[in-house]
């Protein structure tokens, strides 16, 4: 009902606004904005004509289109982008103008003005609940083991708490870890982590920028409830051959890029690999003769990003990009060996076509694959289990700048999904005994969308859109997803914003832990598992203080439906009836986010605070013979974090030194603790258990608060062949022991060995807190030529 009213209202406003807009003749200024140094397109650059107070931003491909009133005069159009020197260009208003613009890095005197322009664009925009990070920032912020990681830096922004310490999980505005749509060059990345979630799949050298939507989702995005994380790879330097790389504590990186044909086409190849396995193999070799020695398993991960792009003509551009990454964990023993590997593959082909100065089109084909495989061999027997998910997606997006009042975005996509869930094959080598199992699903999803960014008078902008989505598996589901975002500009330094978005999610992650595991399985909506749905309303204010500080304050409330959890004692591994382990429920969350940021000058950074609450409940198992204890009432999920504070500072001292520091405080994660115990005798031959825990209310216990402070210093060197820097970082400088998990250790009298004595009785129970990371120093050498 609410949806219908919103649609009607949006259509009415759109029609009225279009009538007013047709009254005077217009011209269009359009083109592509690029980095002067390397030819990379600049996403989100600001284009502003102050006389008529008309502005636009460049889209994901650097393209912009600005409609101005026709006349005999000329006007000044300002082009600006964070960290670049702005350009002002006189443009004649007589007829359409094509204006490709190159921006160079700014000189110090002008950076304040640049930032003011950029912030003013943010204040003017209907976009809210958006966070952006560039790799320049990421590289100087101190990181765990020196591995700079764009997903971990985005966790420092308000409203994006991480999962467990050191991991890349994101729990945006009360959403689950599976409710984030992570796309790399528009291809979905299903498991964006390496090393059990401690590092993300994104190699900072290959990434151009990351934009995260927490709410107010534009109509072109869909498929997950809580966030959209849009990661763009660099295009490659089309001016000259260049390289970047680094040698760190656990991995090394190398990126090569250059023109295939100067100005017209370029390539980039970027690789990264860890090397702990090289050392552990040597240790194993040195100890091979020792009888009691247990070899250390091999572990490594690597990833490779590649991209080429071609200017086919003045109006056509082609991009081809790919990602391939894998983790390998293996052990080779006398009687027993296993090989556990997992990873993502993505591929993207995009064709940009400019039909005319007002109409831009992008046709995209993407391929995504995530799989894990575990192979185990015990003499005479082998065991293989694996799961995978693959997408092939065709997508068409149009960007149409109708006039100075309306910019339309419309398009659609269709995706073929295939899911292999819990494929198991086990048996004896002689073939006499075999086990097999698993489920395969083939599904289709599709969506069409339309959005209109419209100006209503001089102070109000509205971005209204509608998305129709569908998913076909055992049943065909349709979702109607209205979207609306509005801004009221009080003046150039102050605006009030509001947004509403409904989202549907048709794929669900089968995971019970608070940590992203490679064995987590994606499962499609079926007849019994309905699509997840969320409705989010946000209001906020943006205020520019002294031209350098942007203050944002947002309040949100979110309702969640058809949330997926698992029954008590769920068998998620090797289960042909996995669906019967699901319980379906509801949830809600609300909160307030406050942020202050300064992105230019010698001293840069941001401070963020979030006050939030999230609850889930009304869970009903799909299989009514199963139990979801306490599910009928509402409970806190593990990631409910009441307070979350982060401070990030970067300070340049001269040309050579950059100091950086972060401080993070958060309420502790919630955990489910036992409140009682009983003695379980068991049957003849069974193990007597004097302490069998009885768990109390779900996640009622909160771990101690989390605090961590990191410090980093970067020293730049300028050898003849290019640039290099040494980055020294200290993770957890206060050496605080943050709780990773708790456990209870039974204590026994001297001489009692419970592993040998089936009737041993403890003398007491001691609660222990386990932390993961003490203070850790790391050194990384980075170079660029």
């Amino acid at each position: 009902m609410i949806s219908k009213k919103l649609i009607t209202l949006a259509v009415a406003i759109c029609a009225t606004s279009m009538l007013f807009a047709q009254q005077t003749a217009k011209i269009t200024v359009s083109g592509v904005i690029k980095d002067d140094d390397n030819g990379e397109t600049l996403i989100g650059a600001s284009i502003y004509e102050p006389k008529n107070a008309i502005g636009a931003t460049s889209n994901e491909y650097g393209f912009y289109s600005l409609t101005l009133p026709q006349g005999n005069d000329s006007v000044s159009v300002e082009y600006s982008f964070v960290g670049f020197q702005p350009k002002t260009i006189r443009i004649s208003l007589k007829s359409d103008v094509k204006m490709n613009v190159r921006l160079g890095t700014g000189i110090e005197l002008q950076v304040v003005e640049v930032k003011a322009n950029s912030y003013q664009e943010s204040i003017r925009s209907t976009e809210m609940s958006v966070e952006e990070i560039t790799t320049k920032e990421v590289k100087v912020i101190p990181a765990l083991l020196g591995e700079s990681d764009i997903l971990k830096v985005i966790q420092l922004k308000p409203g994006i708490p991480s999962g467990s310490e050191g991991t890349t999980g994101l729990y945006v505005r009360g959403g689950g870890g599976d409710q984030n749509l992570i796309v790399l060059d528009e291809a979905v990345v299903y498991n964006a982590s390496h090393l059990f979630g401690f590092f993300s799949t994104f190699n900072t050298d290959a990434v151009k920028d990351l934009k995260l939507y927490k709410g107010g989702f534009p109509a072109q995005y869909g498929g997950r409830l809580s966030s959209v994380i849009d990661v763009r790879m660099k295009d490659g330097n089309n001016q000259r051959f260049a390289g970047t790389g680094g040698i760190g504590l656990i991995s090394s990186r190398l990126t090569l890029e250059g023109p295939i044909q100067k100005e017209k086409s370029s390539f980039i190849v970027s690789g990264r690999r860890t090397y702990a396995d090289i050392f552990t193999r040597q240790i194993n070799k040195a100890n091979a003769d020792k009888e009691d020695y247990n070899p250390i398993p091999d572990y490594y991960f690597y990833d490779l990003n590649t991209k080429v792009n071609f200017d086919l003509s003045e109006k056509d551009r082609l991009y081809l990009s790919g990602y391939f990454g894998r983790d390998v964990f293996a052990f080779d023993g006398d009687f027993f060996n296993f090989n556990f590997s997992w990873g993502n593959k993505t591929g993207t082909a995009r064709w940009n076509h400019v039909f005319n100065p007002k109409l831009f089109h992008n046709l995209t084909f993407t391929f995504s694959d995530y799989d894990y495989n575990i192979e185990t061999k015990v003499t005479g027997f082998s065991f293989k289990i694996g799961s995978d998910v693959q997408d092939a997606n065709l997508k068409s997006d149009f960007y149409y700048n109708l006039n100075d009042r309306h910019t339309f975005r419309f398009g659609g996509n269709v995706t073929h999904h295939s899911f292999g869930v819990g494929r198991l094959k086990a048996g004896s080598d002689d073939g006499k005994v075999t086990f097999s199992g698993g489920n395969d699903f083939t599904a289709y999803s599709m969506a069409i969308y339309f959005g209109d960014e419209m100006s209503i008078g001089n102070h109000v902008k509205l971005n209204a859109g509608l998305r129709f989505s569908g998913f076909a598996n055992e049943k065909f589901y349709v979702g109607i997803e209205p979207r609306a975002a509005a801004v009221y500009n009080v003046n150039t330094d102050l605006s009030f914003k509001a947004s509403y978005a409904r989202m549907y999610q048709y794929q669900h992650l089968v995971s019970t832990s608070g940590i992203s595991l490679p064995t987590d399985i994606w499962y499609p909506s079926t007849e019994q598992i309905k699509p997840q749905r969320s409705d989010q309303i946000a209001i906020g204010v943006e205020k520019l203080l002294g031209k350098q500080y942007l203050v944002t304050n947002e309040y949100y409330v979110k309702w969640l439906r058809n949330q997926v959890d698992f029954v008590d004692g769920a068998q998620l591994f090797a289960n042909d009836n996995l669906e019967n382990e699901f319980a379906i429920g509801k949830g809600y969350g609300y909160g307030m986010e406050l942020g202050i940021e300064k992105q230019e000058g010698d001293l840069r950074g941001w401070v963020g605070y979030t006050l939030a609450l999230v609850k889930r409940g009304d869970f009903v198992p799909i299989d009514d013979t199963k139990v979801f204890a306490g599910g009928d009432s509402y409970f806190f999920p593990r990631y409910d974090r009441r307070h979350d504070f982060s401070l990030v500072l970067m300070y340049d001292v001269g040309k050579r030194w950059t100091f950086s520091g972060t401080a993070i405080y958060g309420s502790g994660d919630r955990t489910w603790m036992p409140v009682g115990r009983f003695a379980f005798q068991d049957v003849y031959g069974g193990n007597f258990q004097p302490v069998t825990p009885v768990y109390g209310e779900r996640n009622a216990f909160r771990l101690p608060y989390f605090f961590r402070s990191d410090f980093g210093v970067t020293y730049k060197m300028f050898p003849k062949w290019g640039e290099s820097d040494l980055n020294l970082s200290f993770y957890n400088v206060t050496n605080r022991r943050n709780a990773f998990f708790l456990y209870i250790e039974p204590q026994y009298a001297d001489g009692v060995k419970p592993e040998k004595d089936p009737f041993a009785i403890p003398t007491g129970l001691a609660a222990k807190q386990v932390s993961l990371f003490p203070i850790i120093g790391s050194l990384t050498w980075n170079f660029k030529f």
């Binding site: 009682g676 115990r677 020293y715 040494l726």
Partner: protein, 297 residues
Amino acid sequence: MKNIFLKSKISNQLGWPFTVLFFAPFFFTACGNLEKDISLDLPVYEPQYVVECYLEPGQPFSLLLTKSTPYFEPFPDDLLNFVNNIVVDSAEVTITHDGVDYVLANAPTLNPTTFKLYNYTNPTLVPMEFDHDFSLKIITPDGKLITATTRILPVVPIDSVVVEFDEEKDTLARCLTYISDDPSTVDYYRRMIHQNSLIDSIPQQDFTTNDDYVDDRTIVFGTGYDFKEGDTIYNTIFHIERAYFDFWNSTFNSINSNGNPFGQPSSIISNVRSADDSAIGIFTGLSYYRVMTIVKK
């Protein structure tokens, strides 16, 4: 000596900033203890009755009725005091089968063979009968009613036990246990294997499974090369009902979740019922087949 030379060489070539940055991580990286004791303030817990009753055909009716305790309640000094502290006396316990009531007297009994203790027993032997339910009714000393129902399942025999020595290290052997599953029914099993003793040793393997992944009728259970010549292997296959499968798994999930950050705690999934969740436990038939094998070359 070697390190000093390296340090001075680096300093000469790249200057002091490099030297400071290079060596600083090693001075500041801590390797301290990552575990510490903490005190937990847990909510108040109301103790529950705990029922364990396994109906084994040919054995007397026996039931253990105890009470759970708050998690951190101090432990008594020895096993006897521990048991005395938790057993519940003076309850009325009746098991009904095929219209016959079997009243279990409050008489603590320790089975000398199994070393299992029961505080309610009836000397009548449990009949081997698969077609009628067994019903349990307990009225506790404070007047609470606990009920449960179960049925005895047919025994699934072990078809064969094969002991194989490793070809390379011929001093160690493994054990393969074969059973035949009925493909027309969903069956649940508990598999246990002991080395040398059924009483005073921890089982080498103890797990439950169902027949979801069985391609044909044969299910095989294997072990590692853990046995020496002369060892006695006790192989046991319990044919269990779904309620026992859920109870056992939830109990061991609950135990194993302690200390496992990836684990998922679980409530105890019981088949005993009480008006206000005042009881947990299991009332089930016990059908098993056990084979003893002496390892020989």
